[in-house]
Amino acid sequence: MAVVITQIFNGISLGSILLLIALGLAITFGLMNVINMAHGEFIMAGAYTTYVVQQAFSQYVPESFFNYYYVAAIPLSFLIGALLGFVLEKTLIRFLYHRPLDSLLATWGVSLILQQVARSIFGAPNVAVTSPAWLDGGIAIAGAVLPYKRLFIIALVTICMISLYLYLDKTAAGRKMRAVTMNRSMASSLGVSTKKVDAAAFAIGSGLAGVAGCALTVLGPIGSTIGTYYIVDAFMIVILGGIGSLIGTVFGALSVGMLGTIAEFWTGASMAKVIVFVAIIAFLQYKPAGLFSARTRSLE
């Protein structure tokens, strides 16, 4: 019984982590059609930001407040990710909107550079982030322990999803963003500055990568190459869900998470990875547009 609960929880938890990583891509890749191979490095930037905030807190802030460094780190990671994304959009991406495959290659170069820069600043070895004390421990349910950290990530990704939903759905800026992704020229004919909207959208997607990086610090390593571990999974989740569909990304992440944990439980971690990827490839053969496809009539 405990195992079943734990495994279901693990599936949701892994799904939520994958969702957090893919959420930013769902915007930059899903809505804007930019293949940003440096997305993983924005995750890295978020993780290092968390590290820096922790260091700053341990040096300049009374010890009793240390545990709140993480509260400060989340928005800061978002800002750093967003800033990097903004700069990247302004200097590179906006010239490549009509060449999606070229943006893939150029951002690959960016990713090489960012990794090296991180190594030069923080050194090659991993750095440690001590997760805040209030995230230690877990809830015990029927013999299974649900760690607070994983619950926290589930909560965080839920909050990110809701904020993103509210932003896109309830604010003027979000409305403009949806309008631009739906019909760029019409939006501009209404007076919407598409350049600003593009930069803002890209910054938000990148900022979410930063938040993902921040969240990952409580679970895993923080080093210059962490982005590379997640990037392919994240892209696959977005296409599995269906490009342009946020809800598709949610389902994509959760199904990959569930399938991954189930397969790993019965086989092993390596075979599970193989099974998940083969399943995704096979599914896309059957439904090329993904789980939630936004069908269009365009020919080419």
Binding site: N33, I113, S270, I281, L284
Partner: protein
């Protein structure tokens, strides 16, 4: 036209005579780069001419290399079990390894297996009209599958260590400098033949169908061609070229491991072609040689921060030279021609299909 052909001949002859003016170390490097150039040729065919961007060519390269390496490993083991199998607790040679003790089978497989895999993947995805970004990302997922499998099944594949430490090929010692020179020349000849075949293909009617598919796959359907079969063919062909390159690579470098099939090498392969000029076969060859030389040079000169230079190179080429170095030379020549004969017909800048 003749001038062009002469240029190609000179180029390949100059490469062929490499042993005369390159040191042993540089020659070995050049030999490796020329293997990569064969991969680049294949990528140029599918990407530059047919418009399919594959981020999975590392797998085909690796499969080809593994096929040959399996033979070499068995030959080096001299009838016994390969060393890594012993450590991994395998007591008898797995059945699928056995045919690889035959060099003809192994070399044949190094072409056929990559081509078959590519044909299978291509047939499914192209028939389902999956293209562009989707195809690229799916090909990347294939890389993940294969690398994970090859690492995990270490009792069959040698795991992360891969296959290495070969001594002889067909009874000839691989380490002697003469053999290395011979292998180098073999690589140049293979590259030359591949180039000749590829340019013959691209200059034929079938080649024009390919570039028509790139410019408008659906329009091609309305001329009665079935783009799927053309795409499957050219994709398999480029996979076979990658497999061939893998064979030559293993013979010269003496090593293949899953790391060489991975995401990073697969993307780098595309970047060679991007740097050289995606619409030009000779550009692809030059790109492979230039990028790898630059990589060697940067990493020898600035071992700490060389990847920054490489990253910058990629960004600059993609941003400012969408048709690569060959495209740059071409448009520069076009401009000169235009200023020479003013009022001549305007020339397309994107027609660098040499």
């Amino acid at each position: 036209m003749d001038k062009k052909k002469l240029g190609y001949w000179l180029f390949f002859i100059a490469l062929f005579l490499g042993p005369l003016y390159l040191t042993e170390f540089r020659l070995a490097l050049m030999g490796k780069f020329l293997c990569f150039a064969i991969v680049a040729l294949g990528i140029c065919l599918i990407w530059g001419y047919t418009g399919i961007l594959s981020l999975g060519h590392g797998v085909y390269f690796g499969l080809g290399a593994y096929c040959t390496a399996m033979y070499l490993k068995l030959e080096s083991a001299g009838g016994e079990l390969p060393d890594f199998m012993e450590w991994s607790g395998v007591s008898a040679l797995p059945a699928f390894w056995q045919p690889f003790s035959n060099p003809v089978f192994a070399l044949g497989a190094s072409l056929v297996i990559p081509a078959l895999l590519a044909a299978m993947l291509g047939f499914l995805t192209f028939k389902n009209r999956i293209k562009g970004v989707y195809f690229s990302l799916i090909s990347q997922a294939v890389v993940v599958v294969f690398v994970t499998l090859f690492v995990a099944k270490q009792d069959w594949t040698g795991g992360t260590n891969g296959l290495t430490n070969f001594t002889t090929f067909l009874g000839i010692s691989l380490s002697s400098p003469l053999v290395q020179i011979a292998l180098y020349m073999l690589t140049v000849i293979t590259l030359g033949i591949s180039f000749a075949l590829a340019s013959r293909l691209t200059n034929s009617r079938a080649g024009r169908v390919l570039s028509a598919i790139r410019d408008g796959e659906n329009r091609v359907r309305f001329l009665g061609f079935n783009p799927t079969s053309y795409k499957v063919f050219v994709y398999s062909l480029s996979a076979a070229l990658a497999g061939l390159a893998g064979t030559l690579f293993v013979l010269q470098v003496g090593l293949i491991s899953p790391a060489m099939m991975g995401i990073i090498p697969s993307i780098e392969m595309v970047l060679w072609v991007a740097v050289g000029g995606r619409h030009s076969l000779i550009g692809a060859i030059l790109g492979a040689v230039i990028v790898n030389s630059a990589k060697s040079f940067f990493s020898e000169t600035y071992p700490d921060i060389w990847s920054i230079f490489l990253g910058l190179l990629f960004i600059i080429v993609v941003m400012f030279l969408p048709n690569g170095l060959v495209g740059m030379v071409q448009s520069w020549k076009d401009k000169r021609k235009k200023s020479k004969q003013k009022g001549g017909t305007a020339n397309a800048t994107d027609s660098v299909v040499s």
